[in-house]
Amino acid sequence: MLEIKNLHAHVEGNDILRGIDLTVKPGEIHAIMGPNGSGKSTLSYVLAGKEDYEITEGSITYNGKDMLDLGADERAAAGMFLAFQYPIEIPGVATMTFLKTALNAQRRARGQEDLPTPEFMKLVKEKAKDLNVSPEMLRRPLNVGFSGGEKKRAEILQMALLEPSLCILDETDSGLDIDALRIVSEGVNKLRDPNRAMIVITHYQRLLNHIVPDHVHVLSRGKIVKSGGKELALELEENGYADFIDEEAA
């Protein structure tokens, strides 16, 4: 469903992505690991349609459609979702309001009616309960003053509500305590579906114990330098990235 070919991205004079190839099929979970600064978040931003990056080469195709022509909102409507590594604060906009605006914006873009308010409320309450997000948090302005872990849970709540067909999780596990990690992982697993794919960016094996990937890729200096099965993550946990990075430098 997602096909990335020879993707090169450039920002402020730096080549950050230097030829990425990745194919993701429906139902698959791909984990992306790699050292700090290797370009993982950049890849997620480029997929989601952030405009700061110049795509100098390559293509992104999603369900047969060229994504590079589409704006971020159109990609969202097409079913892509990015759970941000650093979620953004929107002062004065209650989380509930934000959720409703986003959901209805996507529904409209797909030619659907707005969800009536009572149904929406019911839906949010249900999903929020699963993720241990309190009604009080739903009334607060989105991400403003949320703790690191609360922000991550709010991201997953958005994802659960919007039901995207491609979920990109950028270090959703960082900042979560042990219980929250379990709750969030359960939330993500609940969304596992033969028609839905996920790209999970993480530094730690422990997330992959909960969300078991089909494929693991190592990103280094803007390239995928190694791909394998779930055992690759264990290997990395043991030995670090040194082997692959050296390989690449040589």
Partner: protein, 490 residues
Amino acid sequence: MAAVQETIDQVKAIDVDQYKYGFVTDIESELAPKGLNEDIIRFISEKKGEPEWMFQWRLDAFKRWQTMIEPSWARVSYPKIDFQELHYYAAPKKKEGLKSLDEVDPEILETYKKLGIPLAEQEILAGVAPENRVAVDAVFDSVSVATTFKEELAKAGVIFCPISEAIRDYPDLVKKYLGSVVPISDNYYATLNSAVFSDGSFVYVPEGVRCPMELSTYFRINEQNTGQFERTLIIADKGAYVSYLEGCTAPQRDENQLHAAVVELVALDDAEIKYSTVQNWYPGDSEGKGGIYNFVTKRGDCRGKNSKIAWTQVETGSAITWKYPSCILRGDNSVGEFYSIAISNGHQQIDSGTKMIHLGKNTSSRIISKGISAGVSENTYRGQVSAHRKATNARNFTQCDSLLIGDKCGAHTVPYIESKNATAVFEHEATTSKISDDQMFYCQARGLDEEEAVALIVNGFVRDVIQQLPMEFAVEAQKLIGISLEGSVG
């Protein structure tokens, strides 16, 4: 939340022209000859059937006005206004002595309908619970064309009528209060208004009465080359309460039109007045051509102890806005509030703010101002907070936030603070921010398009003020914000 969606709907419904109130009503008008002199003042006074004292009052103002010069301290620029080139009176031609709405020109009824203001009471009543009813006074150019719910209000003892009618029917009240808050000689535009004011609303809420519904006046300028000089006077007697809203629109015309209003509020002991404005005069086109020059003097006098006056304004229209709704906190323990959203886009210039004059003991005031600038507009907050020698324990809190959209607009904050009493405590906070690219991307990554994202972020920015508006107007205001910012991004 739904309002944001509606905003968007509305934004989408608009194509080239963003200002949807720009239509002209094709109607025959009776105009005063162009220019300003004693004969014109007599003409206006006679048209209104005014008593001699009122004419003398106007004449006095006119004489003073001739000795005054136009103020130039505001951060606005515009070509010199030729006051002799304006018509000072324009009224739709009609039968004399209208008795009921049935006699109002159907063109005018249609106009208000298009503006979303139904004037036929049966229409308003359909499906509206009594507590949600709003009485409307509709002012078209220089005259009030209809006032609804008068009888129902009269049952509660509330007087709500055009000021021209009040001058004839309640001369004692008018004589006592007119000019008592904004004196004839107050400032250039207020003095001009005192000489030539045409119509506006009069409200008197008697002692101990809580006005049973929201009152509102809807101002519409239609005629070309006409100044609108409305005059509003609201009195809340001891222990009374009233909430009042004014709305304004004008057709889209290439030349500038002048609007110089005066609003006076008087709150006696334990009384409370809430005055809300949604100002949406024609702002001019994208090149800065046309639009209303809005020079307005609004002042409330907390004359009695424990009285309270709250101004809430949503300013989105006009080419130039010059407006400082103020409170004189005369009564001990009186409270003044000012909540403002001022949005400037295109070539608009706004210089607006408030004055809180603390005279009595234990008086307090609160100012929340949210300025949003886009396009090549200039947006200035100008505020004065002062404590008189006897104003022990005066308190003020001012929060003044500016939001910039794009980098060709300007936001300025000009606070004046003076305290002659050592016990006064005044706090002032100010911030300036921009809608960040990160916020935009975040919202867009969730499916909002650019306009939706801006409307959502701006609505968040102004939330504290929107909450002060009566419910139904809050929804209106949110829509208006989206529309006003149409075309501000990308």
